[in-house]
Symmetry: none
Subunit: 231 residues, 2 copies
DNA sequence: CCGTCTCTATATCGACGTTAGACGAGTTCT
DNA sequence: AGAACTCGTCTAACGTCGATATAGAGACGG
């Protein structure tokens, strides 16, 4: 067994190198075997399949990237975490286009495990933002919108990194999607919190067809009144 | 020559059928030949390469879709054209996932010709919107943002069409991106109850020292979020 | 009627993914 | 201790793939 796992990891490393160098299409099991110093049946013993090998390679690469990323603990500002996550995702795709194609470009049914793990991390961040009351839509909706924008941006950048205007594409799309999904603008409003609360009391009181139950409406009015009384 | 083009088109049709049935990976030139009633050298004569054949298949399918779409002349409202284009793009991807993977999923350098043609059409629409003065950013920026969002949405939907909340994902992302890129609201009608609630969310979220208990604060944010979501 | 060009077929090559079967080295059972 | 078993690996091979060298069939202008 002392040599056992070494073979598996040599195969994994060789496959990762080859995929990075010549892409998925150019990577053959035989080449991997030559590099790793093993023969085909060994590969099939560990990974069962060519797809199994490639999946393992992607999972390994993505996990390595995540580990590096997880060393930074979540900051106090979850929106900043979201920005960092976006940039990390895009940069990972640009640095490992072949891996990224395996994760998102394939026509397989369902998503790649590594992609699911990425989405789980994104959801955790969005949930923290939602707890602060700064999400304009459902958590699910926000996650999917952000995820779609991230993937689309990355794929377009991979396909044509030198397109005119590609320089700031990632930043612009990030801010656009944050604007669409989060409540980010402080609106630089001069009116203080109490005045705003008072205004909203008037509005709620005037529109009884609001999407609240009578009980919710009552609580809301009480809380707003308390806020308005602050100043 | 009377039979000449027929062979080419039989090959194209056979390849398209096979790609649709068993995907790219499962499509072999030999199977295509059997279906089309020709032998391999004929395929190589017309398409030079397997990639050439697949490219031609995608271009053909995409062109067929565009032709159907072009029958509708541009309407008076270019924003409506943009919406229609978005939905057409997403539906094309969902109906032809294998084709779509070829267009966007590949790791090839540069983008697929069909994808470029699609971007050209998108640009024409955005330019018309810009002439009406309704674009908030550069035409280039708008095109790239919309394109990225479209591709990302389509890829995510292809990968998991039955995800929770996938139903309205396309619509939501479309509106979000329109909001981010176009001037759709005169900003005057943003004075309603939802806008006010949203403003208050931002204020409350920014001042944690409000005279509320943490529980009250949580309920308030939830209710305000519900109100803000009305619009 | 011949030369040329376009299109298609026969036959074949090397490489690929995959698998059957066997061999040696540890490990466990008796 | 010896037998039986498992695990990791190898040799060898099968069938299929993408691609090609070569040549034959048919149309067409001279």
């Amino acid at each position: 067994m002392s040599e056992g796992q070494q073979a598996r990891e040599r195969i994994l490393a060789a496959a990762a190198t080859l995929v990075g160098e010549v892409g998925i299409e150019g990577t053959s099991i035989r080449d991997v075997c030559t590099r790793a110093g093993v023969t085909p049946p060994t590969v099939y013993h560990y990974f069962g399949d060519k797809r199994g090998l490639l999946d393992a390679v992607v999972a390994d690469g993505f996990e390595r990237y995540l580990a590096e990323k997880r060393r930074r603990r979540p900051s106090a500002d979850p929106v900043e975490d979201l920005r960092r996550g976006w940039h990390g995702h895009v940069e990972f795709g640009l640095r490992n286009p072949a891996f990224y194609g395996l994760m998102y470009g394939g026509v397989r049914a369902g998503r790649h495990p590594a992609a699911l793990e990425g989405e789980r991390i994104l959801r955790r961040i969005v949930e923290r933002i939602a707890e602060a009351g700064l999400v304009r839509v459902t958590v699910d909706e926000a996650v999917q919108t952000v995820h779609a924008a991230t993937v689309g941006t990355t794929i377009l950048l991979i396909g044509d990194p030198d397109a005119p205007g590609a320089a700031g594409l990632s930043e612009r799309n990030l801010e656009a999607v944050l604007d669409a999904v989060l409540i980010t603008r402080p609106d630089a409003d001069r009116t203080g919190l109490p005045a705003e609360a008072e205004k909203l009391v008037a509005l709620v009181a005037r529109t009884p067809d609001a999407p609240l139950t009578p009980g919710e409406r009552g609580i809301l009015l009480e809380l707003l009144a308390k806020l308005a009384r602050t100043g």
